[in-house]
Amino acid sequence: MTVPPNRPPTKSRLVLLVALLVVLAALPIVMTVFPDQTWVTNSRLFSFTQMFMLITLTSNWNLTGGFTGYVDFGHAVFFGIGAYGTGIFMNEAWPFWPSMLAGAVLAAVFALIIGYPTLRLKGPYFSIAMLGMFVAMREIVRVAKPLTGGGVGLTLPPYLNRPLFYYVTFFLAVLVVGIMWWIRRSEFGATLIAIREDEVGAEMRGINTTVNKIAAFVLAGFLTGIVGGLWAYQNTFIDPDGVFFPSRTVELVMMAMLGGLGTVAGPVVGATTIYWMRDVVWANLAEWHLFAEGMLMILIVLYAPQGIMGKLGDRSGTSLLRVWRNPLRRSALEEVPEDEVSV
């Protein structure tokens, strides 16, 4: 199967992208210069911060789930380790930045340790093993009371500075999407896609699949660990149920699928769409919104498994976006209608 070429963006799209980034970067400045307007407020900055975190998380998930084809139902375990690592080191009176980095390194080390055995599992077994890892880690955190505060949780030194968190998460989201874009164009990315399309074939061609899979897994774990640390510091309080919140791991899968698996722009589009849908539409649904989210996931899988970017990719002909569709099409082709079978 051919992997579509990854074209550089056209000039007009590049201009549009830069304009969008400039507007986003200017938002907190608008707030300081015009304190009277009601559009850019602290709470709106907070919303954007949450959205940037989700974009980062979904992009990281997409690295293993979309590019490499290992659908991970427990990716939020790295988020939790990053959050708890940061919380534990900060309670040892470390400053924030080293704590966050230490938390992310912990997450990366954990990814390295569990990646070696679990990435040998295929398809659903990998997904379930990671889901098990996620639930087990929640219980481990609950048990390790002296370190993590158990079920009571940990309190971090409060620090209220919305513009700072805004800029940090904004920068991180841009950086991570940039990394994904670079990976997609690099030999490493091509290797990952080769693993997804045909792991045995990739091995035959001399690709060390184990090393590449683990590298992608560890990178995703590290970046997700950073987001976990930021989240913990912003939230100032972490407990097992809040950090290892079951739907946190689901929504990543859903956002990546809605945007388009295995594409660079997909996670951004998916996370943004779902975040604003939740913020604007589902705010009215109040406690029903998680129910609606589950139903939405079913609908996406049944009716739009190629995602928004996959759909767009159809029309505009930029085939960068349709990577994940090929296996789907293949499985559709395999079902030959009975009257077309020649005897």
Partner: protein, 297 residues
């Protein structure tokens, strides 16, 4: 020694429940090739149905099986017709994602309706009788009894009746089953309905001893997966064996590790799952289905 015997008995009793609650999961997987991640939620729904009957009609959870099982059968039958049927022939990850979405939707729906407060049902089967220093709580013995009854009847149904044979035929070779005149869609809906009925019944009988709450499902689904990995797909004696092994492991850890034993027991079952999957992906006795293609969606 008494402590050890007591832990063993408790483990076996817990294992009976585990075997009954995972049977539907393993039969659905074996017959239709669908990994139902909403399995734990079906247990939870059965438990809540039983609680409703207990709270508002005053029905004993064991008697409520007469209502819970038919209702759960209808839920399963309809669910199969409108949802699961669309993913049966698709690659296994599609059904995994759809049932994952279903699991989130159901648990949150129940959370909205009943709130997250843990609940228990009252049963008339209380008290305990003892042999030497080992006690047998009546409720748990009844759970074990009902679980064994359910498993035996399912086994008889699958082995002896015509419909049961059709189900086994559909599991072995779908095309051949179709050729000999078996209506696959009907058989699948029936299988799903029966499995969900059993699963709901497991939820109903556990409701007097374990607090039920909307998010109890995911750990139970994972346990069902652990036992399937231990026991193989669709095997009823295997289910009993795997359930009892897991039950004894959890109960021993709960007894011998003081304080944090119950949490450790949960961890142990997941560690067991991950270790089995890593070391023997085909299941302990080679009963798991091999994954033919590396990645599909």
């Amino acid at each position: 020694m008494d402590l050890f015997l007591q832990a063993l008995i408790n483990g076996v009793m817990l294992g009976g429940f585990y075997a009954a609650m995972m049977l539907g999961f393993s039969v659905i997987w074996g017959v239709m090739g669908v990994i139902n991640l909403a399995h734990g939620e079906m247990i939870m729904v059965g438990a809540y149905l039983s609680w409703l009957l207990n709270e508002h009609v005053g029905m004993d959870p064991f008697a409520s099986l007469l209502i819970v099982m038919p209702v759960m059968f209808i839920i399963g039958y309809v669910l199969q017709l409108i949802l699961i049927n669309r993913v049966v022939d698709r690659p296994i990850l599609v059904s995994l994602l759809v049932t994952f979405g279903l699991s989130i939707a159901i648990s949150n729906l129940v959370n909205v309706i009943f709130s997250a407060d843990p609940r228990l049902t009252d049963t008339a089967l209380e008290g305990a009788w003892s042999v030497g220093n080992v006690t047998f709580p009546v409720t748990k013995t009844a759970i074990m009894g009902v679980a064994l009854l359910i498993m035996t009847s399912l086994w008889l149904f699958l082995q002896k009746t015509r419909t049961g044979k059709s189900i086994r035929a559909a599991a072995q070779n779908k095309q051949a089953a179709r050729i000999v005149g078996i209506d696959i869609n009907k058989i699948y809906a029936l299988t799903f309905g029966i499995c969900i009925a059993i699963t709901g019944a497991a939820g109903a009988i556990i409701s007097p001893t374990q607090a039920i709450f909307p998010f109890m499902g995911v750990p139970l689904t994972l346990r069902a997966f652990t036992i399937t990995a231990l026991a193989g797909l669709g095997s009823i004696p295997g289910a009993l064996f795997g359930g009892i092994v897991l039950g004894i492991v959890e109960s021993m850890i709960g007894v011998y590790v003081s304080g944090i034993g119950t949490n450790l027991a949960i961890i142990a079952s997941f560690v067991l799952l991950v270790v089995i999957l890593i070391t023997r992906p085909q299941g302990l006795f080679g009963g798991l289905r091999p994954i033919e293609e590396p990645v599909q969606l």
